[in-house]
């Protein structure tokens, strides 16, 4: 805490006419606002699981992600192996510890479960929630899901199970509060490969993060 | 319907025929037109230059001159907006004048808006023919919602086709005193507008505010382009 804190807050209070008399009422408004968590206007939310999946898929493809669907979690390694082969990418990846238990070796992929480093070319992550409104992946960092895996490699592959697909960000917040209590250090909403339009407003994929985002949806 | 015409200072000075065209149109719509003789300017140049005192003085003058009339119509969205939407705030410090400004405000209209939505004009006294492109002036468009009214009226002229230019709603760069304070920038913006006008290839460009029209005409002529620049009232009332 430094001297300017009181100076700045003092100036603000003076401008706002804050007094001991009106502070409690204002404080009550603050608390009520925080308790209410009132959502703003939003597009009508998809609810049916099938339409959520379809909307999520269409929106993420519109953001230059690619999407695959498999029946069960056990099918994921083979689907990813096929994706890597098709893109002529080496069958080697770093994955979040959350997904270490899948049979990667059986699918012919050499996978290490850890945080990513610069030389990793493929990163495989899970996904806390997937947002249909915008085709966005919501990743939460933690010991079993380091943030670097979706950031440093040139290819990011995310595994999302169908029940995690929700309508909008509001449902994502509700889920995060319910599951974590307090927010994880980083919540990253990822919507397609990293991009820049800084040179002549021409969109280029792969600015500092991944060039490709591939999403494998597990229907079961 | 008794209508007082607010001529506007630019029409008075530069293009009286627009004032006469407005009278002709209002009469064709069945209105009795009065032209209060002592009128000068709505005070917008002072208002937009930050001289509130001068603007308020002229606002009071306009309110006093026009408040007795059933309707006030101006062949300019910009001047109509000044009286309709800015006077009440400008005179807010003086309760009596504020109330008078508010009482007047709702009876003030831009010409095409009045013809379409209030007078509901039936027959237009025009046999104008040709292809026109319409420039939407900023204040009329964004403060008074003047967009469909002039087009609806032009559509009723059998010999007239409206061809939309790209960026019809973009500013022409006039901006009142801006045009003489920042002449170079103003002319550069006008050039873009004129490029859009020229590429649409119409027989004439039409608008509802003389300030914009003088700016566009001046730029077109400097570019060596003789495309006629007309006020909507001239087209709706006149012939060619």
């Amino acid at each position: 805490m430094n001297d300017s804190r009181e100076l700045i807050l003092g100036r603000i209070r003076e401008r706002l006419g804050r007094s001991e008399a009106n502070a409690p009422a204002a404080g009550a408004v603050i608390d009520a606002t925080l308790a209410a968590r009132a959502p703003g206007p939003r597009p009508p939310a998809e609810v049916a699981p099938q339409s959520l999946l379809a909307a999520f898929r269409a929106r993420s493809e519109a953001l230059a992600s690619t999407v695959d669907e498999v029946a069960t979690l056990a099918d994921v390694p083979r689907a990813i192996a096929a994706y890597l082969a098709e893109r002529q990418l080496a069958p080697r990846a770093v994955c979040v510890p959350d997904l270490a238990g899948l049979d990667w070796r059986g699918a012919g992929i050499e996978v290490e479960a850890r945080a990513a480093v610069d030389r990793d070319l493929v990163g495989i992550t899970g996904c806390f929630r997937a947002i249909a409104e915008t085709g966005t992946l919501m990743l939460c960092s933690g010991p079993a899901s380091p943030a670097t895996v979706s950031l440093l490699p040139e290819t990011h592959i995310a595994v999302a199970t169908a029940p995690t697909i929700i309508a909008g960000m509001e449902e994502a917040w509700a889920a995060a509060r319910a599951v974590f209590g307090q927010l994880p250090r980083s919540v990253n909403f990822i919507s397609g490969p990293s991009r820049t339009g800084d040179i002549e407003q021409t969109i280029v994929l792969g600015a500092h993060g991944p060039y490709r985002v591939h999403i494998v949806i597990v229907r079961g | 319907m008794r209508v007082a015409l607010f001529v506007t200072c630019l029409v008075d000075l530069m293009r009286p025929r627009i004032g006469f065209a407005a009278i002709r149109l209002l009469e064709a719509a069945g209105c009795e037109v009065i032209v209060p003789e002592s009128q000068t300017c709505c005070g917008q140049p002072a208002f937009n230059s930050g001289d509130r005192a001068a603007a308020a003085m002229l606002a009071k003058k306009v309110v006093a001159e026009f408040e007795a009339h059933e309707y006030v119509v101006a062949p300019s969205g910009s001047c109509a907006d000044q009286i309709r939407n800015e006077y009440p705030g400008l005179l807010a410090d003086d309760p009596d004048w504020h109330d008078r400004a508010v009482a007047l405000a709702s009876r003030v209209f831009e010409l095409t808006d009045f013809l379409v939505n209030v007078a509901r004009i039936d027959k237009l006294p025009s046999d104008f023919t040709g292809t026109l492109t319409y420039h939407d002036s900023c204040t009329g468009l964004r403060s008074l919602g003047i967009k469909s009214q002039p087009r609806q009226l032009l559509d009723r002229l059998p010999g007239v086709t409206v061809r939309e230019m790209s960026g019809a709603e973009e500013c022409c760069g006039f901006g009142g005193t801006f045009s003489v304070k920042f002449g170079e920038i103003s002319a550069a913006i006008a050039e873009r507008k004129c490029d859009n006008i020229r590429s649409v290839g119409a027989d004439a460009v039409v608008g509802g505010d003389l300030g914009c029209l003088l700016n566009i005409e001046g730029k077109l002529r400097r570019m060596g382009d003789e495309t006629p620049v007309l006020h909507i009232a001239e087209v709706l009332a006149g012939s060619r």
Binding site: R15, G40, P146, Q201 | C138, S143, G183
Partner: protein, 473 residues
């Protein structure tokens, strides 16, 4: 940053005369406007109501500003509870001092930065360099400017919008000492490789903050490139430098503001990365900073609170006002002479740096309101510009000639007989000047008008004269 806004007119003239810049501005002009329009159309096709969103955004920002002290305290308490250190800076100089101290305390040699306009306000890069700390801008646009001798940005979200690919290709070849590339994709890859090594070797990351969420004590960062994630994930220290007005109450409010901000800024439904960062590296975490600092900067903001210019504090820095401004489109951002260009800059610059330092800016607008109708939080920018003009008049800051001319004109306009005499004379003079032609090419009484266009000749008599004649006959 040094203030050059008092030279707006001369700077604008130079930009207008710069053919290369004009070509670049023309090329990008439509892109922002079209993308925003398409994104809003798409949102409406989804069943969304963008106007309702704007109203909710305006209301939310106003509610926060009305209790800003309490919201800041709430944010501070929740951020601190998660292990962050919240510091306060009354101005840019203090912000620089605090950040240099943090860097020294953690023995920082190199700091990677994601884009922050406040750091431009404060001149943070210069302060870091002076203290022997290497700042590396990592937003591609900001990076290009930094390696071009610390050139100033010309746009708040597209900082090198004024530069062509060719100019950047030359710059890269010179600075990177590599063969000249001309493909934008390849150029981007080259910059990525250069910056990747900086990301991995920096000891400190500095970011701005799009929003501060009071409920959770978090900062939200919106980027497309992923550099915002890099600077907040890899280094051991993360410093957020942001304005005191950026706080919003809840996560739900963040969803609302993101729907508004991103469509208004880049015309995307959502940016590639929205990161919500809360506290420091946790127990068992592989990554994330061990130390997190917030530097909340006032620098003139509190003076606007609850006053005539309060609405300006709603601003969420999307850049839509400049993208849609005819003046900005004509002269580009550098003409404005400080950190913020376009309509929002013309309001903020005189308010933050002093009226006298930016006399031209409030007048450098046609008041067309293209800015006001696109502003996501409905800031009445033309009205604020006009209020600033009023302040200049009140403080006698306008040139004497202009003041006298206005007074004289208004005095005459209030006297109909005199006015009509004057106008009769004026139209005859102008008609005589035109000499039978339809246009006057040089007008002595308003020389600015005829710099770039003719002055149309008047009809010849005033309406009032002709109307009186017609009535008589």
């Amino acid at each position: 940053m040094e203030i050059k806004s008092m030279h707006f007119k001369a700077r604008a003239a130079a930009q207008l005369a710069n053919a290369g810049l004009q070509a670049n501005l023309k090329k990008v002009k439509g892109k922002f406007v079209d993308k925003r329009r398409d994104a809003i159309a798409d949102f409406c096709a989804q069943g969304g109501d963008f106007e309702a969103l704007r109203e909710a955004g305006e209301d939310l920002r106003d509610r926060v500003l009305a209790d800003l002290d309490l919201w800041l305290e709430k944010f501070e308490a929740n951020a601190t509870a998660r292990g962050a250190t919240v510091l306060w800076a009354k101005d840019g100089a203090e912000a620089c001092r605090l950040i240099v101290d943090i860097a020294k305390q953690h023995d920082v040699k190199k700091a990677t930065k994601s884009k922050s306009m406040l750091s431009e306000e404060a001149g943070l890069n210069q302060a870091l360099e002076a203290a022997g700390i290497q700042p590396v801008e990592t937003d591609l646009g900001e990076y290009i400017l930094q390696i071009n001798d610390n050139e100033a940005p010309s746009h708040i979200i597209a900082p090198v919008v004024h530069k062509s690919k060719e100019e950047i290709a030359d710059l890269f070849a010179r600075v990177h000492k590599k063969p000249r590339l001309t493909d934008i994709g390849e150029m981007t890859r080259e910059a990525r490789e250069v910056l990747r090594s900086h990301f991995l070797s920096a000891d400190m990351g500095i970011s701005g903050g799009n929003f501060l969420v009071a409920e959770t004590g978090s900062v939200a960062l919106v980027t497309n490139e992923g550099n915002g994630r890099m600077v907040t994930t890899v280094p051991k220290v993360h410093v957020v430098i942001t304005g005191i007005e950026k706080v919003i109450p809840t996560l739900e409010d963040l969803s609302l503001m993101l729907r508004l901000l991103i469509r208004s800024a880049t015309g995307q439904p959502i940016s590639n990365y929205v990161s919500l960062l809360t506290g420091t590296k946790g127990e068992g975490d592989f990554d994330g900073p061990e130390h997190l600092y917030y530097v909340l900067v006032d620098n003139g903001r509190s003076n606007l609170l609850a006053g005539e210019f309060n609405a300006m504090l709603r601003c969420i820095r999307c850049g839509a006002c400049m993208n849609h401004c005819p003046v900005y489109q004509a002269v580009g951002g550098h003409a404005y002479g400080w950190v913020y260009p376009g309509p929002m800059g013309s309001v903020l610059t005189p308010l933050f740096t002093g009226m006298k330092n930016a006399l031209d800016l409030p007048h450098a607008a046609t008041l067309c309101n293209q800015c006001g109708v696109v502003c996501p939080v409905k800031i009445p920018l033309p009205e604020l510009l006009r209020k600033l003009r009023e302040k200049q008049v009140e403080k006698n800051l306008r040139p004497l000639g202009e003041r006298l001319a206005l007074k004289a004109w208004a005095w005459v306009a209030a006297r109909p007989a005199l006015y009509h005499l004057g106008t009769r004379f004026a139209v005859r003079y102008l008609k005589w000047l035109a000499g039978g032609k339809q246009s006057i090419p040089v007008l002595g009484v308003a020389p600015e008008w005829t710099v770039g266009r003719d002055f149309p000749a008047p009809q010849g008599k005033t309406f009032r004269e002709l109307y009186a004649q017609a009535k008589k006959s």
